[in-house]
């Protein structure tokens, strides 16, 4: 399908579609079950349409590159607080990640534990549903309970409910400075204990990760405040080992850099104290890191029976409560297994019914999230 550059063009393309469509933004996150169909390219729908720094809000067409939005915000010393991750390194994809793709996948990075997820910063959406109808929900103000919150429903729907055409977001001020406290040589269990203590303190930790055997705790804000809080945390965590103040690249955690060489990668959300158990249960040869204080496990492997490992991970997570997604994997595996965590019968039935109401013909990324 041609490069569409208007919302009406998208609506027309959906209305006139004779078969399944594959919604494509920047093409950076080829995740999920393999979907076949005509590509519907949204990346032509691009540009910031409104930015009010004093109101902490920005509105942009869904195909706008995240990099463009971040640059626009940086000029006013503001940022996307949920720290969207970039999968190009992990998946070996090229292209520019779009803001619509970020919201459609609820892509949130390390600051999610403190500031919230992409869905928490989404104020409004416009989208084209499966019938080719343009729908809007929410708006561009920070507090809005007018009617049902379909904005949240669209975030993380991976294009299966509608094609996002415009999004409005809450943004936050950038910070004057950041520092990371690093404790080297810590086990996963000890790491979660240390991170829980830090996150359960009043010192506003904005990143808590375990990477290559080290705990990273990020503090952000005004210089003097960071120095004060770093001192307090060093006292609180002294029993966990030597603590150094460092200037690390959090993109390593955000984008799961240690796993870039793996053939299969899972993103697993559990209660933080369950993180170490998930790691312990992985077969030998798997690599892993934890973000969100232990609540987000990135695990990867290059050998072994990937489908079997996948089944074991999802079965364990089903018991613990949470979800595991196969973010990267061989096509044959992704075609054969439930890439997204299978849902309880009640939730699955509601989700199925919602999909069939939003997309009655079943043409939008059909089967990407669930068969």
């Amino acid at each position: 399908m041609d490069h569409v550059i208007s919302e009406e063009g998208i609506a027309e393309a959906v209305r006139s579609a004779e078969g399944p469509l594959v919604v494509k933004g920047g093409g950076t996150r080829m995740v999920g079950r393999l979907v076949s169909g005509d590509p519907l390219d949204v990346s032509g729908l691009s540009g910031v349409t409104l930015y009010e720094p004093g109101a902490l809000t920005i509105v942009a067409a869904a195909g706008t590159p995240v990099a463009e939005i971040e640059a626009t915000l940086a000029r006013e010393n503001q940022r996307l607080a949920f720290e969207p991750y970039d999968l190009t390194g992990l998946l070996g994809t090229s292209g520019a990640s779009t803001i619509g793709g970020v919201l459609a996948t609820n892509a949130s990075g390390p600051r999610r534990i403190q500031a919230g997820a992409a869905r928490d910063f989404a104020l409004g959406v416009r989208f084209v549903d499966g019938a080719g109808q343009v729908v809007k929900n929410g708006g561009r103000v920070m507090k809005n309970v007018t009617g049902y919150d379909l904005v949240k429903l669209m975030c993380g729907s991976w294009g299966t409910l509608g094609v996002l055409t415009e999004v409005s977001l809450k943004v936050l001020p950038a910070v004057e400075a950041e520092v990371t406290l690093v404790i080297e040589g810590v086990s996963a269990a000890q790491a979660v204990a240390a991170m829980s203590r830090a996150l359960g303190s009043p010192y506003e930790v904005s990143g808590a990760a375990w990477i290559n055997g080290a705990v990273w705790l990020r503090l952000e804000g005004f210089e003097a405040s960071i120095a004060y809080r770093a001192g307090k945390l060093e006292g609180l965590l002294a029993s966990f080992g030597e603590i150094t103040r460092s200037d690390v690249a959090w993109s390593n955690v955000r984008d799961a850099k240690p796993l870039w060489g793996c053939d299969a990668v899972w993103r697993i959300s559990v209660k933080p104290s369950d993180g170490p158990a998930v790691i312990t249960a992985l077969p030998e040869g798997c690599q892993s890191l934890m973000d969100w204080g232990g609540g987000l496990v990135w695990a990867g492997t290059s050998g072994g029976d990937i489908a079997a490992t996948h089944g074991a991970v999802q079965a364990q997570v089903a018991g613990l409560g949470g979800h595991a997604t196969l973010i990267k994997g061989p096509e044959a595996v992704r075609a054969a297994v439930p890439v997204f965590q299978p849902e309880s019968p009640g939730v699955a039935s509601l989700s199925r019914a919602l999909r069939s109401r939003f997309d009655p013909r079943g043409i939008l990324n059909q089967g990407l999230m669930a068969a």
Partner: protein, 482 residues
Amino acid sequence: MEMPLPDPEILARKARIVARLREVLPRDAVIDDPAETRAYECDALTAYRCPPMVAVLPATTTEVSDVLRICQEIGVPVVPRGSGTSLAGGALPTADCVILGVARMNAVLETDYDNRFVRVQTGRTNLSVTGAVESDGFFYAPDPSSQLACAIAGNIAMNSGGAHCLKYGVTTNNLMGVTMVQMDGTVVEIGGAHLDSGGLDLLGVICGSEGQLGVVTEATLRILHKPEGARPVLMGFDSAEIAGACVADIIKAGVLPVAIEFMDRMLIEVCEDFAKADYPMCEALLIVEVEGSDAEIDAQLALITDIAKRHNPVALRESAGADESARIWAGRKAAFSAIGRVSDYMCLDGTIPVSELPYVLRRIGEMSKQYGLAVGNVFHAGDGNMHPLICYDANKPGDLEICEEFGAEVLKLCVEVGGCLTGEHGVGIEKRDLMSHQYAPADLETQMAVKDVFDPAWLLNPAKVFPLAVSQPRRDAPMAAE
């Protein structure tokens, strides 16, 4: 405000309906004596009252499931009720409905400081969630003004906010999971102690659905460690325009206070009278609060007061201590009751882009003259969530109608400038018929399709949120009869 006429056929079956409910609930949990059902005739939107046919007070998720299953089987509408503090009429009954109150379900089920959550039954009040964890230094962040009385169930239904949501977000940002009973009695667990959904974000659409998708009986809530300290500063200005410019400058400077509250002269006077907080008398008062250690607070307030000084404040005073801070907030949080002592009032809740504040306040002032009704303004200035309080005389025939017309014009203005009808109170019955000003038919149709999925027979709180004429075909569709 029009409500659907009660179904005489349901009223005629009352005795049998009560008997069915008594099969699954203890005797004292089914209230059918008209002298007692009157206790449920309204919520905090007191201008509208209608006793329900029956009120039930289940004590467990199973009992809620039994009640809903029976009501679905026999085609009786159910109106869920938290503590009845809704300002939008969210819990207003109809004469043919069963009111389902969650007040008996108020236990704390699980407290987990390592993973920073509590799991509670939803009849528990907002403030008592914090009460259960504060001795260990933790708190639950959303703080609606009614937090002493309002239930978590209602907070979830309305996606309640509060004064401190500039930093901590509203209910939906602090809700991790729910146990919810659907109208057909099905119990679903959604979310939990982990973050975010692995599939569609059902939790996101349930929160704020005004009790129309299901009855939430248990909730997993994020808790945080309390900050080391907090201190408000009072800033008085000669006009709302100047106060608004000061707010924008504070936000642009990169400091994000936990709260920025605005009051105009009328509210300053009534709140001062009520709380004795020593508010400066001026046209526009800001309460700006920051958190942290003493030194961190000093540094942030130095920056903020520097900005304020550039806007020629007529008053600028930091709170001198915990006692004064408490009085400053007591005054603000009592704004509604304070004004209620001097007049009947209607509280609006529209949100606007903060850049439009001066224009909208000026227009409200003009309309106040036009309609001949006084207006006081108090609102969350950092996020543009306004609370104009329109005063009227309930004993004067026609005054309420004028007030409602005035209110509707203000809310339409909010939508016109890029805002919305309600920022944190919900649509209920109050803003129901204005929904078409904010949403096109396709927008409303899509929202109603969500209700079709969760409650196909449209029996849960059916006459709320959507304009009656718009929802009528769904509400009137033939249901599974007894």
